[in-house]
């Protein structure tokens, strides 16, 4: 009961924050800042998809950008080939992109998920590299390294509409994924992450669970790619780059692995820091322009001092206090019992 109330409370808090965020474009009309927040929403979705793999199942992927890129290219190619892009074309492009991502993640999962974790990580890296090379070579379809420039329906050109679309997507996906992670499936995934052999000896065949979560994660990542392409109306092969995966990894680790909300916070921090360092502080010192160096340092410090990330550390702190309180209560209770006895 207590658990249920805690969950209900957090749901209301998240909904309240969502409503406050929904008001932002109506009271604050700085276009570049709104665009930055849209990017945070999109990368928040992408990072949550990564958290499903890393945080809930213990799968380390170096090729997650592959799904992001498939989503981005899927919708971009459909839009670029359409003479007059309408909402129906966007929906069709999105369905095609997500369908392809589902098939690819299913096939990639079948090929790789039986491998030990480090082999899986390397194979996903190779697969993402393959997609990058294919995107560069298939110029007729993808525009090669020049990329694809396309137009979107009027609805998406309005920054407020785009903002609200990305925000609502983030909120809906967050609650859906939270439902998944709090379901019996989610519990089995955590069990797999903690101890595969032990989970097997409880009667679970591990592979289908990994495959299911890999497909869900791939489709969500592709959806983030779709939103990304629509938001910038241009796409090139950099969406398949390993940097995109590393960003998701960093967002997840800094925000808090296995927390879902952590990666969204991580996305906010990384995207904002990226923007702030490369635009605002670039004039102060050249080092700020090389923000990757700073992020590398942040990454090392985060892993050493905050291995649980922001949300994980806060949860750990709250739990410790609870345990301490409980212990003090138990101690007092036993002292009372002794006196009474």
């Amino acid at each position: 009961m207590k658990q249920l109330n805690k969950m209900q409370l957090s749901t209301w808090v998240y909904l309240l924050i969502s409503v406050l965020l929904a008001v932002v474009p109506f009271v604050y009309d700085n276009l570049s800042m709104l665009f930055l927040i849209v990017q945070i929403f999109i990368f928040g979705i992408f990072a949550m998809s990564y958290d499903l793999l890393l945080g809930y199942t213990g799968i380390v992927s170096f090729g997650h950008a592959m799904f992001f890129g498939v989503g981005a290219y899927g919708v971009s190619i459909v839009l670029e080939r359409s003479e007059e892009p309408t909402m129906a074309v966007v929906i069709l492009g999105t369905i095609i992109a997500l369908g392809i991502a589902a098939v690819i993640s299913f096939i990639a999962g079948i090929l790789t998920l039986r491998l030990k974790s480090h082999f899986y990580a390397m194979l996903t890296l190779a697969l993402a590299g393959l997609f990058l090379a294919a995107a560069e070579k298939m110029r007729d379809l993808t525009g090669g390294s020049d990329g694809l420039l396309f137009t979107v329906p009027e609805f998406f050109k309005d920054r407020t509409n785009l903002y609200l679309l990305c925000l609502s997507s983030l909120v809906v996906i967050f609650f859906l994924l939270r439902r998944v992670t709090n379901s019996p499936l989610g519990r089995v995934l955590v069990a797999i992450r903690e101890n595969e052999q032990r989970t097997m000896s409880l009667g679970y065949k591990i592979f289908p669970y990994k495959l299911i979560i890999s497909v869900i994660s791939g489709v969500v990542a592709a959806f983030a790619g779709v939103l990304y392409a629509i938001s910038i109306r241009f796409i090139d092969t950099t969406v398949f780059a390993v940097d995109v995966t590393l960003d998701a990894l960093l967002m997840t680790i800094i925000g808090g692995v296995g927390t879902l909300i952590g990666p969204v916070i991580g996305a906010g921090l990384i995207e904002y820091a990226h923007h702030f360092l490369s635009s605002e502080l670039a004039d102060v010192h050249w080092i700020f322009e090389r923000w990757v160096i700073l992020f590398g340092t942040v990454y090392i410090l985060a892993v050493i001092f905050f291995p649980k990330g922001i949300v994980g550390s806060i949860q750990g702190f709250v739990n410790k206090r609870k345990i301490k309180k409980q212990e003090q209560f138990d101690k007092k209770q036993s002292e009372k019992d002794e006196l009474a006895g």
Binding site: R187, V190, A191, E194, Q197, M200, S201, Y204, G258
Partner: protein, 235 residues
């Protein structure tokens, strides 16, 4: 009587090391069979081999007359063999309740009945139902691990060193619970604590250097000082 479990001339390797060499023993239904032996004798590997977590290179493991030697662990578990590993195997990030629920293969009335029985046996689990598994004490973890294995309709429980690292008072409680489970299921127990093992065991097998070297009834072993001294180091 037909053996519930028959381990026949099993050889198991871990990497290049030949751990089990021709291990054979039978487990009769309703009995507690104790595997004894010094550290490194191969007791844990024997249980892991039965469970399919280490694969036997040769020999056979038969459960209820069916060959299970090459089956994966999840299929062996579904056939009705529960496993309580040496390290307890608690999922630290899941609560006690979630640890229990994740172990339930069915949610039928019989499972609910067993859940109730096991929670009465270990009331601590009820008290700490919403506490994370990783935050439990060693004894509580052991109780949770045993409770989880008992939740399903398992006809055979493999329990590995349940007294290891526990305070004597907790050991007594754990052993008492195993004693109660004995009424309902067949048990293969690996135990270093001979006193405890002798209290609940019906038959014994001694493993030495990965081979079964002696077997018999526990009553015989209790009085055989030479055997105890030679293989168990008990003076």
């Amino acid at each position: 009587m037909t053996a519930l479990l028959k381990v026949d001339q099993v050889d198991t390797f871990i990497d290049q090391f030949h751990i089990l060499q021709n291990v054979s023993f039978d487990v009769q239904p309703g009995e507690v069979t104790v595997l004894l032996g010094r550290n490194g004798a191969g007791k844990t590997t024997t249980l892991r081999t039965i469970m399919g977590l280490n694969s036997a290179k040769s020999g056979s493991v038969m459960y209820k007359g069916e060959e299970i030697t090459k089956l994966p662990a999840y299929q062996i578990a579904r056939k009705g063999i529960g496993y309580v590993p040496e390290d307890q195997g608690i999922f630290g990030d899941l609560t006690v309740g979630e640890n229990m629920r994740v172990a339930m293969q069915k949610e039928d009335d019989a499972t609910k009945e067993r859940m109730e029985w096991v929670l009465n046996l270990f009331p601590d689990l009820k008290t700490f139902w919403n506490k994370a598994g990783g935050q439990l004490s060693g004894g509580q973890k052991q109780m949770l691990s045993i409770a989880r294995a008992y939740l399903n309709e398992n006809e055979l429980l493999l329990i590995d060193e349940p007294s290891k690292g526990l305070a004597p008072i907790i050991v007594e409680k754990v052993m008492d619970s195993i004693q109660q489970m004995k009424e309902k299921t067949t048990i293969v127990l690996v135990e270093q604590n001979f006193y405890m093992a002798s209290q609940i065991g019906d038959t014994f097998y001694i493993l030495d250097d990965g081979t079964t070297v002696h077997s018999g009834s526990m009553d015989e072993l209790k009085t055989n000082e030479e055997l105890k001294k030679k293989y168990l180091g008990i003076a």
